[in-house]
């Protein structure tokens, strides 16, 4: 044993008790200061603290299957705690011990707790009744520990009286432990010890220790006991059925031994003592293997994890959690085979077939307690090199046998060994060995002769295969790619110490893994990316598509070559990934057993496809999977692919954002219309302006009533007629400033003059008229102002103005500036073709690494181009002479439209009916919302309904009953009000329509149908049952209970409908074809096979009896009569039935042969009314499940006349 790996340490008061949680990474520690701590040792956090004991707590245990903790302390109390975080509390306290409680333990299956105490007793408690059910007396000093046997009804205890005792408690199990002592009715309270003693007896008293014994436990599987005592000795005892004896002692501790445990998996003993050591012993040889010493702290307690290679030890100032050996199995993957080491055997595992065979024993290689560290496989020679860390590092080269032989070969036979810390194959007939101490790498041939010696350029801790004739050297801060032949460094990357190196299937990419980082590099190390993890990285493997899948302590994750990474799934326990194939991860677990994990690769495949511009695959994924949540949209946006995200985002706000981002004005326009908020229009205007699409700018300005900008836009585009219309609008708005602007822009002198006149600025008006040579108007103004020419003599005369707005050279009013075609992308094409549904599944390249990896390289090379392709900001400005021609726009933008927009107050919101449709997957709710189209689709999909015509009155009445009208204000059209199912629910995301038809009301209708049957009104009954079945389609269900009732009602209605239909057919036959007695009889018989209620069944049976008796089929008639009797009818009917049976007995014959075998179960085809015996093929109505002969598949079901027989249907959803 060369390693003892500390996983976790805590500082605290003295730890006297420890217990592992069986499944979660939790450890309970009982402290000398009275506190009980619950640690998560994987995360290193204190999860909880239980502090109710007074004085030291010594005993602690966690229930093997429930979230319970038991503690025992120096306050004589035993407490049971609920450790679930949400209801953490002390459940109850067990009183009875009269001195310190030393240990406590739960029984593995009974609700028992065992405790040992300084009061010299061991007690067993029933945790259900919370009573003491047994007191084991016999020890004559403190009882230091008491443990149940892991399987049998035995207890082992250790005491200061220097003995270890084994107790038989089988009597306790046979008795009735809840009541204390049933065999002795006199005593059933705690304290009457005699009572309990009848249940348990001392089986063996093991004497041999010279001092008090501190601890004793059973071996988990063997009939062995281990004990630890103050005589510094650990003793091993063996038991048989009849006796127990001492086997051997382990000596070495030089102070009191506090505790000793059997290793749960290996033949080892772990002990600890007051000599401040933890020691590991070989159970078979009883020799010390390993000693772990602590400077100042005495050890008090040990605990072993029940399943894992994990131990905990408590000492004077805290606790440590440790494992005894590396768990990471040595393995290598070649093609479809995994070569790995388990229990010191080299094994091969076939990924395809799962065949797992042992090939080679390496038991004699290095220390027997240390597993090999690495394995390197040479397929050409079918040889392996193993390394082991014992004996300062050894390697061994051995050939594997071709086939698994009867006797597994041992490597010591022909293995070639040597010293070295790291050793790998570098070529078919060469391997390299690193000697860390001398810093020399030797290259050896297969006969183990050194052919070359290399001095590595850096301090090398480990070497890995680096591609043909190359090595990867791992040093403390860098990783070096080294060419063996030329003896020179090819490349060097900074990295924390690399511990594992994984090459992709085609050797193009390599993952360099250290404790918390992964570096993904290409094979020359010329490009690389780094991933950081906060949790320990354990292992990794390449997907054949060039995605690296890796595992950390608690996750399986993926990482793309450019560094994007994400979680695939969580892990309970670490695993070592060996191979990824499609949706399956192959791995080795902690005990080196091959396992597989299936996962969903959609997310990373999508990202990969995106990186590679593989639109077909993206389309396929979009179409077939549901991954496209916010995270993917955010990802696309962040990675600069807004135009792709745009194609599958439905939320209008997001669509708008994306459309603006990628400059897709059409979509932006469309979404802005539906959002209709000022900011949206403004942003749209901005973007459109950038792209030179002034039509959209105009629309946006109109929407926001941005008159100034609108006018300026018209000026810029030379749209004079619109400017004049703007003038009118300004006039209507009563905004003279705006009028003036528009007049100025339009070069409309008259307009300007009239504005100024209107606002009373006569001087300006006059001058304007004058300078523009409009003498007449000027005179008019003068006159209006009440002045004459003479009054304005002092006004200087200005020369006539010839300033004008620039003339329109190119009329851009009706044409947009030309812009570069946005370039139809793949999705546009697909969407235009309308075949988003039609994408072809790409041949995903698993198992064919070449194709995948070569495109992976391409993707890398292309990475930068991708960004160039889609710079949305620029494309609008790139004037391309060869681009589109100027296209005169035809759509006349009437300014009338502008005027309409001006008054715009509010756009309609989402109507309640729309909410209903959104909130419910039930057809009934869609009908109530008036969304008949979706309702019919739902019914078709859920229940296979095709003939909706019959449902029209039902649909209309449900719709009609879900809305009402009221006019609160005179003369306005009434408000359309919507009746909700639950009046107290008004949240838009939860409102649902009123349930117009309740299951109750339909069942009332069904009862009416029953009455028709009783009253022999079969035609009416048939109609009623049909109507019931229709109404059931639109019943709203709200619970599983209701759904069950619904199904029962459907079935009952179907059976009655079928029965009534059969009986009606029988009457028709009897009338129309009186000679067809056989058919008459058959139909009468089938009627009795329908599932009817007792009164109706009586009618059916009596009718059948009559018909059969008349036809002289006495035997059958008698059978029906017997069935009738079973229903316990009226005495009168009983008498008749008995007569019929008597007649049948007298004359047990049937005159007419009928096709009716009552002894074989059958269903009745609802078309032909003939039996379909069990085992014969039949198909069913997707709604009522009525049976039909297979030839009717695809026809309309005649019972309900609603469904297509045999159609696929998904059934009703359960939205509650």
């Amino acid at each position: 044993m060369s390693v003892m790996l500390t996983k976790f340490e805590s500082k605290s008061n003295r730890v006297k008790g420890l217990a592992f949680h069986p499944t979660q990474p939790l450890l309970a520690a009982a402290l000398h200061n009275g506190s009980v701590q619950l640690w998560n040792y994987r995360m290193g956090v204190l999860v909880d603290r239980f502090e109710e004991h007074e004085g030291p707590v010594r005993g602690v245990a966690i229930h093997p299957s429930r979230a319970l903790l038991v503690t025992g302390g120096d306050d004589y109390k035993i407490k049971v705690w609920d450790i679930r975080p949400q209801n953490r509390r002390c459940l109850f306290t067990l009183h009875g011990h009269l001195d310190y409680v030393r240990t406590v333990q739960f029984h593995h299956e009974m609700p028992w707790i065992i405790s040992s105490s300084d009061d010299q007793t061991i007690r067993i408690w029933n945790s259900t009744s919370r009573n003491c059910i047994a007191v084991l007396t016999g020890h004559s000093h403190y009882v230091m520990s008491a443990q149940f046997h892991p399987k049998e009804d035995l207890v082992v205890s250790a005491s200061m009286d220097q003995t270890v005792r084994v107790w038989d408690i089988s009597g306790l199990r046979k008795g009735s432990p809840n009541q204390g002592g049933p065999s002795n009715p006199g005593g059933s309270g705690p304290g009457t010890f005699e009572t309990f003693d009848s249940f348990s007896t001392v089986k063996y008293v093991l004497e041999g220790h010279d001092r008090g014994v501190n601890y004793a436990m059973f071996h988990p599987t063997l009939p062995l006991i281990i004990s630890a005592a103050d005589d510094r000795v650990i003793k091993i005892w063996r038991m048989s059925e009849t006796k127990a004896w001492e086997v051997d002692s382990c000596r070495g501790h030089f102070n009191n031994v506090s505790s000793a445990l059997f290793h749960p998996k290996h033949e080892l003993i772990v002990s600890c003592g007051e000599d401040k050591t933890v020691r590991v012993w070989d159970l078979a040889k009883r020799t010390a293997i390993q000693t772990f010493r602590r400077e100042h702290d005495r050890f008090w307690i040990l605990a072993a994890h029940p399943n894992l290679n994990l131990f905990a030890a408590g000492h004077d100032s805290g606790l440590i959690v440790f494992k005894l050996e590396r768990e990471r199995p040595a393995f290598a993957v070649h093609q479809d085979s995994l070569y790995y080491v388990r229990d010191k055997y080299v094994r091969s595992y076939d990924f395809n077939t799962g065949a797992d065979i042992g090939l080679l024993s390496v038991r004699k290689f290095g220390s027997p307690y240390v597993p090999p560290r690495t394995l390197s496989f040479n397929p050409a020679e079918r040889a392996v090199i193993l390394t082991i860390s014992s004996d300062n590092g050894l390697f061994e080269l051995t050939n594997l046998p071709q086939q698994a032989q009867g006797e597994v070969k041992d490597s010591s036979v022909d293995g070639k060994k040597g010293n070295g810390q790291s050793s790998i194959f570098v070529a078919r007939n060469r391997f390299a060995v690193l000697n860390k101490a001398t810093q020399i790498i030797e290259v050896r041939d297969l006969s183990n002769a050194v052919v070359k010696t290399i001095k590595p350029p850096v301090q090398t801790n480990e070497i890995f295969y680096g591609g043909t004739a190359s090595l990867i050297l791992s040093s403390t801060s860098t990783v070096v790619l080294y060419d063996i032949q030329q003896q020179k460094t090819i490349a060097e990357i900074n990295s924390p110490p690399v511990k594992y190196v994984i090459w992709s299937g085609d050797g193009a990419l390599v993952a360099l893994m250290s404790k918390h980082t992964i570096t993904i590099a290409n094979k020359t190390f010329s490009t690389h990316s780094l991933i950081h993890e906060t949790i320990r990285i354990k292992s990794g493997a390449w997907d054949d598509a060039g995605v690296f899948i890796y595992s950390t302590l608690n996750h399986v994750k993926y990482c793309l070559s450019q560094g994007d990474h994400g979680v695939i799934c969580t892990l309970d326990n670490p695993v070592y990934l060996t191979r990824v194939k499609g949706k399956t991860v192959h791995c080795l677990d902690r005990s080196a057993r091959p396992r597989t994990i299936t996962f969903d690769p959609t997310e990373y495949r999508f990202k990969l496809a995106l990186l590679r511009n593989n639109y077909e695959e993206m389309l396929y994924i979009i179409r077939t999977s549901t991954l496209l949540g916010q995270s993917i949209i955010a990802y696309l946006q962040q990675k600069g692919f807004p135009e792709i995200a745009l194609h599958f985002v439905e939320d209008t706000n997001t669509r708008f954002e994306l459309a603006i981002e990628c400059g897709n004005l059409d979509v932006a326009m469309e979404t802005a219309k539906s959002i209709d908020r000022v900011e949206c229009w403004e942003r749209l205007a901005q973007q459109a302006l950038k792209q030179g699409n002034h039509k959209i700018v105009e629309k946006a300005y109109q929407q926001t009533k941005n008159f100034d900008k609108l006018s300026f836009l018209y000026l810029a585009t030379g749209s004079t007629d619109k400017l004049s219309k703007m003038q009118k609008i300004a006039e209507a708005r009563g905004d003279p400033m705006s009028r003036f602007h528009n007049a100025l822009y339009a070069g409309d002198v008259f307009g300007r003059i009239s504005v100024m006149r209107d606002v009373g600025l006569y001087p300006l008006a006059y001058l304007t008229a004058k300078t523009n040579g409009l003498e007449e108007i000027a005179a008019e103004i003068l006159e209006v102002a009440g002045l004459t020419e003479a009054d304005i003599d002092d006004v200087p005369t200005f020369p006539s103005s010839d300033l004008k707005p620039p003339p329109v050279v190119t009329s851009t009013t009706n044409i947009n500036w030309p812009s570069v075609s946005a370039g139809e992308n793949f999705f546009d094409r697909v969407l235009a073709d309308g075949n988003l549904e039609g994408g072809v599944e790409p041949a995903y390249v698993n198992g064919d690494a070449q194709a995948g990896a070569s495109s992976a390289l391409d993707a890398w090379a292309r990475e930068e181009e991708v960004h160039d392709d889609i710079d949305p900001e620029e494309e609008g400005w790139e004037l391309d002479a060869h681009g589109e021609e100027f296209q005169p726009e035809h759509g006349d933008d009437e300014p009338a439209a502008v005027e309409e927009e001006l008054g715009a107050g509010a756009t309609p919101g989402v109507s309640e009916t729309e909410l209903w449709v959104r909130n419910s997957p039930l057809a009934a709710d869609h009908v109530a919302a008036g969304s008949f189209e979706t309702a019919t689709q739902l019914l078709n999909r859920q229940l296979g309904i095709v003939n909706f015509a019959l449902l029209k009155p039902l649909f209309l009445s449900v719709y009609r009953s879900s809305h009402t009208y009221l006019s609160p204000v005179a003369s306005l059209p009434p408000l359309h009000l919507h009746i909700r199912r639950n009046p107290t629910e008004s949240s838009p995301s939860r409102v649902l329509p009123v349930a117009a038809r309740s299951l109750q009301s339909v069942r009332v209708e069904l009862a009416e149908g029953y009455r028709f049957v009783s009253g022999n009104k079969l035609t009416e009954a048939q109609g009623t049952f049909r109507s019931v079945l229709m109404a059931l389609l639109l019943v709203v269900l709200s619970s599983d209970e209701e759904a069950k009732q619904w199904r029962e009602t459907v079935t009952a209605a179907r059976e009655y409908l079928l029965g009534v239909s059969i009986e009606l057919e029988r009457r028709r036959v009897a009338e129309a074809e009186p000679d067809n007695v056989r058919r008459n009889l058959e139909l009468a018989a089938y009627f009795t096979q329908c599932e009817l209620q007792a009164p109706h069944m009586q009618i059916a049976l009596r009718s059948a009896i009559g018909v059969f008796a008349k036809a002289n089929n006495q035997a059958h008639a008698a059978r029906f009569a017997k069935r009738l009797l079973e229903l316990k009818p009226d005495p009168k009917i009983v008498a008749q039935a008995r007569q019929r049976i008597a007649a049948g007995d007298r004359n047990p014959r049937n005159a007419v042969e009928v096709s009716y075998d009552e002894f074989t179960p059958f269903e009745i085809c609802a078309v032909t009314y003939t039996p379909i015996y069990k085992g014969s093929p039949s198909i069913h109505c997707p709604y009522t499940d009525a049976s039909y002969l297979p030839q009717f598949k695809g026809s309309l079901d005649p019972l309900t006349q609603l469904t297509e027989i045999g159609a696929a249907a998904s059934g009703l959803p359960a939205p509650w």
Binding site: G909, T936, V946, S1195
Partner: protein
């Protein structure tokens, strides 16, 4: 400040007691209450869908803008679809006219013109024009009531609430404000329609007026509260007082469909509504839904019947 008679008239108008208003004897033509009362009476006629009576009531040749507006509204409602435009134009002109100074009528009349024009525009489906005319910043409660109802009809209860909140600041505890609040409650269903329900229940207890309309309104509220049998009794009581009221009848049909009545009786009631009030929105809506249904059904191919 209104005289108590006028106040009462107004209250009756708000609560839909149109029948009572129609039968009211007008005050002395010289009293200041005359014109307002006349206007309410005319509007009550219009509300009862009897614009002819309203037109007869209105003195021809009056220059009062409000009177003119009522006449226009009456003509608009009386007109067949093709002739409505001219009445709308009249109202548009009036709405522009009241902006000027030289019109006959006080502020109240001007507000009423807007209310009436807004009503007509809303009826014509010109939502934006109606809102524009009424002015979303108006301080006339009647206008607010219409604005609120318009907002509600286009599923914008948020805007409706804003209007209400805004009005609360200056309208205090006016009856009409309470009605507005209750109307918003009808649509949003806040607190299980508690507000609406108690408003109408309170008004039913108002001793100074009886209006079957309030009964109907409470009946409708009760339907919304899923209190079907209570709703039925309200509606039936209301129907006794106003046998031919389409709204009550329509509501009763709905209550019946939700289990208040047997299917046969429901169908009979529905048939009655459909024949007597072919223009009621429920009837029209159902006709369109029937068409929609046929359209949807056509999308499924029905296979031949088995056998």
């Amino acid at each position: 400040m209104d005289s108590s008679e006028l106040y009462h008239v107004k209250q009756q108008f708000i609560l839909g007691a149109f029948k009572t208003l129609v039968n009211l004897t007008l005050p002395d033509p010289n009293s200041s209450d005359y014109t307002p009362t006349l206007l309410y009476q005319a509007r009550a006629h219009i509300a009862l869908n009897d614009p002819q009576s309203a037109l007869q009531l209105i003195p021809t040749g009056s220059e009062n803008v409000a009177v003119k507006a009522v006449a226009s509204l009456a003509r608009y409602i009386a007109a067949s679809e093709t002739d409505q435009e001219s009445s709308l134009e009249e109202l548009r002109d009036l709405a522009v006219e009241i902006e000027g100074d030289d019109v006959e009528g006080d502020d109240r009349d001007r507000a009423l013109v807007r209310v009436l024009a807004g009503t007509a525009f809303a009826r014509a489906g010109e939502v934006e024009e109606a809102l524009e005319t009424l002015g979303v910043d108006t301080e006339d409660l009647e206008a607010v009531a219409i604005i609120v109802q318009i907002y509600l009809s286009i599923n914008r209860p948020d805007l409706a609430k804003k209007q209400f909140e805004r009005s609360k600041r200056w309208a205090e505890d006016d009856l009409l404000l309470q009605l507005i609040e209750s109307t918003i409650g009808l649509v949003t269903g806040k607190d299980a329609y508690a507000n609406t329900s108690s408003f109408y229940t309170e008004q039913l207890g108002n001793p100074s007026l009886t209006s079957p309309h309030v009964l109907t309104a409470r009946g409708v509220t009760r339907i919304l509260r899923n209190e079907i049998s209570e709703a039925k009794s309200d509606l039936e009581e209301s129907l006794e007082q106003q046998t031919a009221d389409a709204e009550t009848l329509a509501a009763l049909v709905v209550a019946a469909g939700l289990g208040a009545l047997k299917k046969v009786d429901t169908d009979e009631l529905w048939a009655r509504l459909a024949t007597e009030h072919p223009t009621h929105p429920l009837v029209i809506d159902m006709a369109s839904k029937a068409e929609l249904f046929d359209e949807c059904v056509g999308k499924f191919a029905v296979p031949p019947l088995a056998g």
